[in-house]
């Protein structure tokens, strides 16, 4: 029996298995600490296409095909895809999915989208609405920079709190067909706004949301942080991590020992000059598929909490002086012993 926990969480009656995870990353990501983990590294920033936006679609397309291939299924076996990206109106997903010929729900949760996609795909499978569902997100440094910040050739200095949008795409296929890793519960995040307006310090804008979702998850499931081998946030970066620790401490939780951040894992700031870390929908997606999932499958980690975080602003809201609200979606992922 699926069970509602507290006000915001769900525990699945049967585990929703992660049949496969695939990642395609860009050149800079490939040169980072996780380089050897990616399924594919695309050295050409245009990925053989004409524009940055098309390149992002192409990366997403390859990640989706690879995930299908690894799961041993065809696109027609998928009942639905939950997909999203950073571009306006989710066009990177739209142009990719137009070629895939699969029913689609387009999502926007900024950089938290992979958490949102995994949650909804898990619910669809747990509710028996889909035999196979896919969670898929992408981001591209150049398309994001062009849309949200400056043209690439424009000269500017990035503050130390700034993050570097990850070029890449990650995909996961979920199903009731058994595997070594499964989603066992989700906590839906609330939008949390502490009134910050600095879009160059996204970590600080999102940390309160991450704190809120993590606390809620722990309370709803009646767990202590120690019951998770790792609590992995999306792209808080080094600044956001510090803030998250401080905020959680106020709530009486200490997660310093088990906390990781996808944005901090994917780049090495000392060598790659990325400042606070990686960001973007692609960031948590590629790190999940390439680094986190294999560790759960191997049993190195028995249970983790995956908490992608997003900053919900737009160019217009920024120009109009609005705050930057944050959101975080939590997914509980567990190692599964094969019994048969």
């Amino acid at each position: 029996m699926n069970e509602r926990m507290g006000h915001q969480s769900i525990r699945f009656g049967e585990p929703v298995y992660i049949r496969s995870g695939a990642s395609v990353a860009g050149k800079k990501e490939g040169e980072g600490p996780l380089g050897p983990c990616f399924d594919e590294i695309e050295k050409d920033p245009l990925a053989g296409e004409k524009t940055w936006e098309q390149a992002e679609s192409a990366l997403q397309h390859r990640a989706a095909l690879r995930a299908l291939d690894k799961a041993g299924i065809k696109n027609t076996d998928l009942r639905m895809i939950f997909a999203g990206d950073l571009l306006a109106q989710c066009t990177a997903s739209a142009y990719n999915l137009a070629q895939l010929d699969v029913p689609v729900y387009g999502l926007f949760g900024a950089c938290s989208t992979m958490g949102e996609a995994l949650s909804l795909a898990s619910m669809a499978v747990a509710g028996d609405f889909a035999e196979y569902a896919m969670a898929l997100t992408s981001s591209h440094f150049a398309s994001a920079e062009k849309e949200f910040r400056f043209p690439l050739a424009y000269g500017n200095q990035r503050p130390l709190s700034a993050t570097w949008t990850v070029t890449g795409s990650g995909a996961c296929v979920l199903s009731k067909v058994k595997s070594r890793a499964a989603v066992t519960g989700v906590t839906t995040g609330k939008i949390v706004d502490f009134g910050l307006k600095d879009s160059m310090n996204m970590g600080a804008c999102m940390a309160p949301a991450a704190c809120d979702t993590i606390c809620t998850n722990l309370q709803d499931f009646g767990r202590q942080p120690e019951e998770y081998d790792r609590i992995i946030t999306g792209d808080l970066g080094s600044v956001g991590q510090q803030i998250l620790f401080d905020l959680l401490e106020k709530q009486g939780y200490d997660i310093k020992r088990q906390h990781l951040d996808c944005g901090m894992l994917i780049f090495d700031d000392a060598v790659q000059d990325t400042h606070a870390g990686g960001s973007g929908c692609g960031c948590s997606a590629v790190v999940f598929a390439s680094y986190i999932l294999p560790r759960i499958i191997s049993g190195e980690w028995k249970r983790i909490l995956f908490v992608p975080t997003g900053a919900l602003m737009s160019k217009v809201s920024f120009a109009e002086g609005q705050t930057v609200p944050g959101i975080a979606q939590a997914v509980v992922v567990e190692h599964m012993e094969e019994k048969d």
């Binding site: 050739a153 500017n156 803030i243």
Partner: protein, 153 residues
């Protein structure tokens, strides 16, 4: 009441965030800006002097100076060197006329995919537009004051 409380917590949070967020060392950045900006000005002085030595009057020399600096800046922008220079020099590359040229060339190059008119044509003014607009308007206002004062005399 609720709003006031929210505003206060927002301010407190902002203060706290400011405290934990690392920033570039200001003296180091200022030194770099000083060096890079100073050198660009020296290059400008060299062009001024050379033009004048070749027989240009002061005004013409100024025009040659802008022209050549802008050309170099646009070239370096296209070759992807200017952003690297800017990363090091900060305001040293923003303040000189070369920074203005960079802000014109960068969107022109980036938005070529969106077409001649609404891509390059309108985006070329993203940053240059406001500079020209407020430059023209402010000098017009000041000129108007000058004009009115002259009438009084």
């Amino acid at each position: 009441m609720e709003n006031q409380k929210n505003e206060q917590t927002a301010k407190e949070y902002e203060k706290y965030v400011k405290k934990v967020t690392p920033t570039h060392s200001l003296p180091v950045n200022m030194a770099r800006a000083f060096l890079v900006g100073g050198l660009i000005c020296v290059l400008g002085q060299y062009i001024l002097n050379t033009a004048q030595a070749m027989g240009a009057d002061k005004e013409e020399a100024g025009c040659w100076c802008s022209l050549i600096l802008i050309f170099l800046s646009v070239l370096f922008t296209g070759l992807n060197i200017y952003p690297k220079l800017a990363k090091f020099g900060g305001a040293g590359t923003l303040v000189p006329i070369t920074g203005f040229a960079n802000s014109v060339a960068a969107p022109a190059i980036e938005y070529q995919k969106e077409g001649q008119v609404f891509g390059i044509g309108s985006k070329i003014f993203t940053i240059a537009g406001p500079v020209i607009l407020y430059g023209v308007v402010s000098s017009w206002v000041l000129g108007l004051i000058y004009y009115v004062m002259q009438m009084w005399r």
